[in-house]
Symmetry: D2
Subunit: 174 residues, 4 copies
């Protein structure tokens, strides 16, 4: 019965898929708070009254989107298959070495950033270059693990959550 279906839930994937996406990120060493703190770092100079709670809530909302969930499932699956040696060449070596010319990791990340509009591109590029917080941690594990997609996915979710906050702040909703 779908009587009290909340409006919030519109085109956002099921709660189960959101929980799964969070579990997959945690399995790779990334928590919601790790991402929320990237959002806080990026947005606090634009929104002086920003709180960590608002950042965390924004990350949660981004993770409700089906497109975001699918990018996370796909990217992490590829990282893990590379780690297990289940990918054929020439893909295996490109992923294992996080080849700077590979580019498909950025493509998946862009599909996340796009969801809240083009203003997120700048924040994504900045996070991907400077690698603050958890992005640097994940990037530093590249000897033991394959995190070729993971660092871009995390930067993209943080960039999208930042864009969402910028829009909400303008609309007087923060």
């Amino acid at each position: 019965m779908s009587v009290a279906q909340p409006k919030e839930n519109q085109y956002t994937g099921s709660p189960l898929l959101k929980r799964l996406a969070i579990t997959w990120l945690e399995r790779r060493g990334v928590t919601l708070d790790d991402i929320a703190s990237l959002v806080y770092e990026v947005q606090r100079k634009y929104i002086p009254h920003l709180t960590m709670a608002a950042c965390r809530e924004s990350v949660e909302r981004v993770l409700e989107k089906r497109e975001v969930q699918n990018a996370i499932f796909t990217g992490i699956a590829i990282d893990e298959l590379a780690e297990k040696g289940l990918l054929d060449e020439p893909l295996y070596t490109m992923l294992k070495n996080d080849d700077g010319l590979y580019g498909i990791d950025e493509i998946l990340a862009l599909s996340i950033v796009n969801i809240y509009g083009s203003i997120g591109f700048t924040n994504f590029g900045y996070l991907d270059k400077v690698k603050p917080g958890i992005i640097g941690v994940v990037n530093g594990q590249k000897n033991e693990k394959v995190n070729t997609f993971l660092d871009d996915l995390v930067a993209a979710v943080a960039a999208a959550a930042s864009s969402r906050l910028a829009h909400r702040d303008r609309d007087g909703l923060l």
Copy 2:
């Protein structure tokens, strides 16, 4: 007073900007019902219980997004400036002739389609090629008017509204 601020309103631009975007489209000869009927045509084979009212509502929701509004304002402004002869060469001739290699009209359209995820690309391309309904009408006026951006904007709004319906139908919200 912002007590009862509806959640629906999140990151969606002000109601004023939405009304303005609709006015700009109407000034160029395109109504919400014109776009809704493109959505109906594209989606009814996937969603048998689809109604025109649901299509119309979906178009309205797409037009609440700030990114969509900005693409509409910018594209229509360029069409109208070309019509008035206020653009320098080589831009003027490319726009006047709807040069097939111009491409910036498709770029603006993509920024609209992206908002509801990549599943909209296919519908956008199809509408842009086949030019049903109002898209064909607008395209046929190219002797008297400059509609280089307008037809792509309309196809993009229809494609985005179709994607939104596909997501909502999956979530049991239609």
Copy 3:
């Protein structure tokens, strides 16, 4: 010794990677001529003097681009891993059923189309919707095989090769 390195080869990946990409496509049942004939169908009404040889050559050039090769390797790898049952849920079921809301297949395809500019979006969408030639064949095999990425990759290579021909024709090079 690299003295006579042809200019043609610039930023286009090694010949080995191109051959590998062609092999991967053939392994999934798609030949260069299959793709060339999609290009011919799409472009011949715009370029009356178009030949199949020019279409075939354009497809070959698209396949020299590293970004295109990487999208092909990644997409086909995922299709094959799904076929072998090596992907976890919820990814497995989405790929197995070519879920219309998955969207990551279109994202990879767009990264191919982008290489020759935004004019390719329309052709991509049209091919993806109408499914002529090999795209329909590949799509019809979805009971036995997983071709979720393959059909979009093929449509994207054909759309990119079409865009390239449109640019070359304008420049008087066809």
Copy 4:
């Protein structure tokens, strides 16, 4: 006479359009050397043997692409029309103030970055955030001028030229 038409010229717009694009940039205070020096700054840590001459040549090549030229003509035209007060509201105020939520400037920039593949996104975002060299200069003129599109266009050309160099270096062509 077109006998010795160089292969280099393929799908790259006419030399006239390239010269025009350079003239438009110079009219707004940006020289090829300004952009080349951004490229040098971004890429020299990845390519130790990089020269300014190679950076300059890479910028020139990017400017031969029709999609890039069209983005430059369109973006600069909008900046100048805003400066002359020829744009209607609400567009005028958004452009005059370089509204952070406008987003269409980033969209045009992306169409430039895309030409050399997704690896350019990171460099674009970084340049757009940190605003080194000419980007900072252009951005600092925003009281007297409207440079809403210009700074993103310059960052995008520099990012694309950087991607091109990364690809060429891998292919042993630098």
